[in-house]
């Protein structure tokens, strides 16, 4: 009987604390876990200074974000989705099919992708060709450059005699990750182009070219770690011979224990990535539903906060968090687009 009365009391408290389903008076944002750390800073700043409710930001991954975002116009659907890649044609079609016809695209900045290892050993000095040779599934046969063979390289020294004689062990994101996608395209594909045999395939066998230049080896040298970058950082400390691939902001925060590998003479630092000299970085975006802008309170304020110089400018607080700002002209262009809510061309 006592137990029953406890439950009755519990149910009663619940019933009393449950207000009628109120309307939504906060911005709902979904999307990429890469943009999440930046969008949240803006949201917090906006919420603390404007007096509006702080936007709710879910970390769902870019794909899941678009799935929710494109489900329709209405209060049950998110207002904004963050993405670490541009929207795809198929997603635009889903959006249009569900009545989401007016979308404003905003590019917010860049995220550098770095290779890094423990400070107890020397930093790697790599070219993109080295990266390709170390990580691709198939590479040109050193004995017969016209033939492709399964990647035979076991140590960095095998790849390039100037490198250390340690086992190739790279911790990186899984194939479902946008970080991995960008890394493959920016680092490996360019590296693959340095070989005439693969470069030649570009014209004759496009499929094959992509397959060779973008497939990562699966024999244990490349270890698919989860997307928890802090864990990769700690694993690198525990295992000095391993190299990790992750976002620049984690290198920035852990500069006392890790150093970034130098790629084609460029150190992965703030200036290098912002100038575009460091070759491996990718743009970050968010997308806004125009139909929601006037109806859900605060969207305009949030957009204005995000596109203000004190947020995404060169000296802004997003840069302090490790996001690489866009050049001035690009910033001006996008903040103008946002101010006028210029919608995307939906083919």
């Amino acid at each position: 009987m006592k137990v029953t009365s406890i439950f009755v009391a519990g149910a009663l408290t619940l019933a009393l604390t449950a207000p009628a389903m109120a309307a939504r008076d906060y911005i709902s944002i979904v999307g990429s876990s890469t943009v999440y750390p930046f969008a949240t800073v803006v949201a917090e700043q906006f919420g603390k200074t404007s007096g509006s409710k702080t936007p709710k930001i879910e970390s769902t991954g870019s794909g899941g974000g678009f799935k929710l975002f494109c489900s329709g116009v209405g209060v049950n659907f998110p207002d904004i989705t963050n993405s670490s890649r541009a929207i795809k044609a198929s997603e635009m079609k889903t959006c249009a099919d569900n009545g989401v016809t007016e979308i404003v695209e905003v590019k917010i900045g860049y995220d550098g992708i770095v290779l890094a290892n423990s400070k107890t050993v020397e930093a790697l000095k790599l070219t993109r060709q080295d990266i390709f040779l170390a990580l691709a599934k198939e590479v040109p046969d050193p004995a017969n450059p016209e033939k492709l063979i399964a990647n035979p390289y076991k140590t960095w020294k095998d790849v390039n005699s100037a490198l250390a004689d340690t086992k190739i062990e790279v911790l990186g994101p899984p194939p479902t990750s946008g970080t991995r996608d960008a890394f493959v395209e920016l680092a490996m594909e360019t590296g693959a182009d340095t070989f005439p045999v693969i470069e030649g395939m570009k014209k004759t066998d496009k499929e094959g070219y992509k397959r060779v230049s973008q497939t990562v080896r699966e024999d244990g040298a490349y270890i698919e770690a989860g997307e928890n970058d802090n864990l990769i950082v700690q694993k690198l400390q525990a295992n000095p011979t391993a190299v990790g691939i992750f976002g620049f902001s984690f290198l920035d925060q852990n500069a006392d224990v890790l150093h970034g590998s130098i790629i084609e003479g460029e150190e992965p630092n703030f200036e290098g990535i912002a100038k575009g000299a460091y070759p491996v970085s990718r743009p970050l975006f968010f997308y806004v539903k125009k139909a929601h802008v006037d109806v859900i309170p605060g969207i305009k304020g949030y957009l204005a906060e995000f596109t203000s110089e004190k947020a995404w400018g060169e000296e802004g607080y997003l840069a302090d968090k490790g996001m690489i700002p866009m050049p001035k002209e690009e910033r001006q262009l996008f903040s103008k687009n946002v101010a006028s809510l210029k919608v995307m061309d939906m083919k």
């Binding site: 137990v3 439950f7 519990g10 149910a11 408290t13 619940l14 604390t17 449950a18 207000p19 389903m21 109120a22 939504r24 906060y26 709902s28 979904v30 876990s33 999440y36 750390p37 969008a39 949240t40 800073v41 949201a43 917090e44 700043q45 919420g47 603390k48 200074t49 404007s50 007096g51 409710k53 702080t54 709710k56 930001i57 879910e58 970390s59 769902t60 049950n76 400070k119 997307e227 928890n228 970058d229 802090n230 976002g247 902001s249 984690f250 920035d252 925060q253 852990n254 500069a255 006392d256 000296e315 607080y317 302090d320 968090k321 490790g322």
Partner: protein, 424 residues
Amino acid sequence: MNSIETTSDLLKPTTRLKRRYRVERWFKRLGLTAIALSLSFVAFLFFTIFSDGYTAFKQSYIELEVHFAAEEFSQEKLANADYPGLVKHAMRTMFPEVTSREGKKFLYSLISPAAAYTLQNMVEADPKMIGTTQKVWVLADDDVDMLMKGKIDRSLGEGNRRVRDIQLAWIDRLESENRLETRFNKTFFTTGDSREPELAGILGAVKGSFFTLLITLSLSFPIGVAAAVYLEEFAPENKWTDLIEININNLAAVPSIIFGLLGLAIFINFWGLPRSTPMVGGLVLTLMTLPTIIIAGRASLKSVPPSIREAALGVGASKMQTVTHHVLPLAMPGMLTGTIIGMAQALGETAPLLMIGMVAFIVDVPGGITDPSAVLPVQIYLWADSPERGFTEKTAAAIMILLTFLIAMNSLAVFLRKKFEIKW
């Protein structure tokens, strides 16, 4: 056994008897070792968490002399005043020798961005402050905090740490002037999530977890017990009952994220309940913990000896009276155990909440079951994935809070279990 022994032989320990006793002793020791081993795991995990997290309960503060210049508040709204500017001005007056642009940037970065909010709240609470100069303790930046707690090594070269040499000198000066000190971190217990480690608090997640678990417990315990009782005591032995039984066992093995998909499809898309709220979270976790409670409940009902039922039925009790008056009270300890384990699982679960939008950045502390909120494991997961070093200790501290929550819940159940337990 098959040899016939004389009486005097029986009194003498035979080799066989000795061996049997030896086995007995070894078995007992083995059991004790198993417990000691498991408890040492608990102790070890507690120790790691505690040693990482106890520093989070302290926080560094810096004292500023802020001049609330009247001309700064000429705008019609107090919220529009340039509070960060006031903080910067106060820092410049304290260190007038810093003039270079870069130097100023380093200087300003000693103070948390939260300082501006502190000033804003002060002015809004008491507008008479405008035009005066006040001594204000504001939060130090997380890097300063980490340095004060010894998590940044001063002995490393300048390039290898996040605090510059010149900042070190300023910090030492502040410390010698008693303008920098660490105090009990009240913020951690009174605010919601934040992207600044020094401002991040656990209250939002604690309340979210509380609401979520309240719903889970008040639904899954009665439903679980009722289902277990029906299946074990009333259900006819047929294919249909077998089907339900296999089904429930099977549900226990369904990965928790699938329950999230189910919740998304039914509770959010079909019923139209609001996303990211404890209501939906509680419902999903109810479905997830039900199999655990039902299986444990059935196991404990099975262990009630049939003689109890026969005795009750024999004196004329109805089937329902037998169950509610005699069988259920005896099976209660086992059911409570199942509930504890199920609740512990619900308290620590992140994956299903991902699909229903509870893995989210939510600053405002929820006030009820229909406000968006995070829960403790989600907060831990999000903090563990944040780049800022200051979040490491916050993560461990949040785990400590979660464990406190868990232990409180367990002790209640242990108390109840103790009350119900009978050995016969």
